[in-house]
Symmetry: C2
Amino acid sequence: MGLVHADLGITLDGYSAGPNQRLEQPFGDFPVEHLHSWMFEHGDENAAEVAAIVDAGAFVMGRNMFTAGRGEHDPEWKGWWGDNPPYHGPVFVVSHHARESIPMEGGSTFHFVTDGVESAMAQAKAQAGDRNVSVTGGARTVNQCLALGLIDELRLHVVPFTAGDPGDEGSRVFAGVPQISLEIASVRSTPHVNHLTYRRPGL
Amino acid sequence: MGLVHADLGITLDGYSAGPNQRLEQPFGDFPVEHLHSWMFEHGDENAAEVAAIVDAGAFVMGRNMFTAGRGEHDPEWKGWWGDNPPYHGPVFVVSHHARESIPMEGGSTFHFVTDGVESAMAQAKAQAGDRNVSVTGGARTVNQCLALGLIDELRLHVVPFTAGDPGDEGSRVFAGVPQISLEIASVRSTPHVNHLTYRRPGL
């Protein structure tokens, strides 16, 4: 049985996205180039952490990470990741709105789960077998999972700038999460990001 | 000329204190024993970081850190630290309310500054000479200094539990701070706390 891990790239003040998320600005009004430069511009230095994000047998994703759309799904939309997404396995997208599964190239399939994150997690675990389940985000979905005690390993990738306090309209890790205790598992620093890994106590 | 450094012990979700700060509960409704155990129960492992907090020639402190009182000062109150506070130098307490300076044993003197944090900083720098100025907290005072660009080195001591999202009534680092960029200076992990040090770019 694998672990359930969650990865979030966040600012110093804890934000993974800003307000007004939309097609042209998937992360909303937010300096997203800073948030992701460790992955895209400095991928070599951070290759282990990038690889670990998708080293899982199945995935759980929030609907707001899958699309900037809200309400009923646009049947033409197939995610941000092109024809061959980096997941290479089943991705359970938690949504209030049903949609047929979308098989993609390279083994990724997006399934839409309308009965909540716990159901999505159960389906992901059943599909993952001995491999990990990865909660890919966004922050609201990770927060829901943390509040429910569903995360074994939380990996925060903290970039050294602030989002400027967008408040409740931004997506902030731990917003709405009750008091929880974790254990410090590891820390690794590179010039562009701190990789902070926490684990559920007693794991 | 020394640096201006600021130290804050915070939860995973960024809080240094909760709501309802008062004499019996200086940190408010907050699991403060977790926040400080790295200092008081595991001081040996964290001796360098503890010593660095007070390795300064002068100090800037928010009034809410000096006392749980609000409004006019209680002339009997001399801080939380006993007769011989750990500062051993001038401490400039930013307050809306004037009070005579309070000389303490061991070289600490509390001075009350009523014309704002920039004035307190100028006075602290003048007194520190070649040594550092230390901003001791709380979060609101550190945030004010960050917003004004007064901090050269920010040291966050992050414990692995959450405060349970006390919201605006708690004291959260970076609340109200605009977008700022820092550089990652160092990271050190112990079982009870991550010590994350950031510096002003170009320092």
